[in-house]
């Protein structure tokens, strides 16, 4: 891939999705976009870039989707789900005993493994949660992955990565070669398409926000902006869960880490620096930190 094409794609992805590729990610672009180029009847990445330069909106969306879709597992990294069961939910069960409701947002819900893992955890607590209103909102940039999530259909490989076998037996049915998560678990998750760069204040307030392995792709200014807007949506005693390679430390003081629970953060009540959505102002992203 030549340098002008690479720079064009970098800028396009940054403007459209906030995805911040470093200068050496050509291989990533090739591995994700070559299949897409072939599907569109194009011979190379150069041909694909030419179509994009000509202004094909459909192709732009497909490119953004292909580049921002990530592999995910049930109970990915295990530890955040242990925190959820052992720390987050026990505390919320006490703190929300009167209100009897809990709202959870999976901000990078992807193909559903994370929200459904949480739903299965909550199902295990059904006695304690009897009479409670439990909401799990799964959002993602990509409509394609949301559709897969909604279907609840997974391959044999996917159900074996991280999903304890007892959960498979209990919560899935075989559908031909595939496995489908049961309707009662599917019904616990609501799906919405959402770009984290855009305003998301309409989602309401949350007790728990899982925002894992998505901020790593954003530049520093964008991360700070998103943290500020997440803090505004969070109950004062809520919990933020980040991925293993992510932190708020050195970026913002609107959240603080819980020393004894890696990856778990709580709001501090500090006022964020600036919290307007970035979606309408892509130039801000382009200029930030460069």
């Amino acid at each position: 891939m030549n340098q002008p094409d690479y720079e064009f794609l970098r800028k396009l992805l940054r403007d459209k999705s906030g995805l911040d590729l470093s200068a050496d990610k050509q291989y990533l672009i090739e591995s994700r976009l070559l299949p897409l180029a072939r599907k569109a009847g194009l011979g190379s990445i150069s041909d694909l870039v030419q179509k994009l330069r000509d202004g094909s909106a459909v192709l732009v969306n497909q490119v953004v989707e292909a580049m921002t879709t990530n592999e995910t597992f049930f109970f990915r990294d295990k530890v955040p789900f242990d925190h959820f069961r052992e720390a987050v939910m026990p505390e919320l069960l006490k703190a929300r005993a009167n209100r009897k409701s809990v709202r959870i947002w999976c901000a990078a819900g992807s193909t559903g493994q994370e929200p459904y893992s949480l739903a299965m955890c909550l199902r295990e607590m059904s006695v304690a949660l009897s009479g409670w209103r439990v909401e799990i909102i799964a959002t993602d940039l990509s409509q394609e992955v949301l559709e897969k999530s909604k279907s609840g259909l997974y391959s044999q490989f996917e159900v074996q990565r991280g999903l304890p076998i007892q959960f498979l037996v209990k919560h899935f049915k075989q559908v031909g070669e595939l496995w489908q998560i049961n309707p009662d678990i599917r019904a616990m998750v609501q799906h919405r398409q959402l770009n984290l760069l855009h305003d998301f204040s309409q989602l309401g307030t949350f007790d728990v926000i899982f925002c894992r392995n998505v901020l790593i792709y954003f530049d520093q200014e964008t991360k700070i902006n998103i943290f500020g807007r997440l803090a505004k949506l969070m109950e004062p005693d809520g919990f933020l869960v980040l991925g293993a390679a992510e932190t708020v430390v050195g970026l913002t003081d609107v959240f603080k880490p819980l020393a004894e629970r890696r990856g778990l953060y709580r709001p501090t009540g500090a006022a964020p620096a600036k919290t307007s959505a970035l979606g309408g102002l892509p130039k801000m992203v382009t200029m930030a930190g460069r």
Binding site: D77, K78, F157, Q160, G162, V169, G243
Partner: protein, 126 residues
Amino acid sequence: MRTCLVVDDSSVVRKIARRILEEMSFEVVEAEDGERAIEICKARLPDAILLDWNMPVMDCYEFLGKLRRMPNGDQPKVVFCTTENDIDHISRALNAGANEYIMKPFDKDIVSAKFQEVGLIQAMPS
């Protein structure tokens, strides 16, 4: 070093399992049938057993029963690893005392995830 006994009549499966388990820092012992596997367990109990469903000489249930009745025979984590991929087989294996269940074909990610699940290895952030 922790040990894993691989019980499978297919030498190809044993070879693939050996490669994956050695990458995960397990010492691997192989058995081609249940009878040989019992002999190995009598000599020294492994930490983990990857067990095929269809075995010649002694079937998996007879093996599992004999293993669990040995002194400390409840210690090894037994992970079924088979082509029997329907829910009835899986439930039967769990009721018989299996700790986990892998459906063939499998790869390192799957073995690693299942071994984490039964506490044989620590979870590493991906």
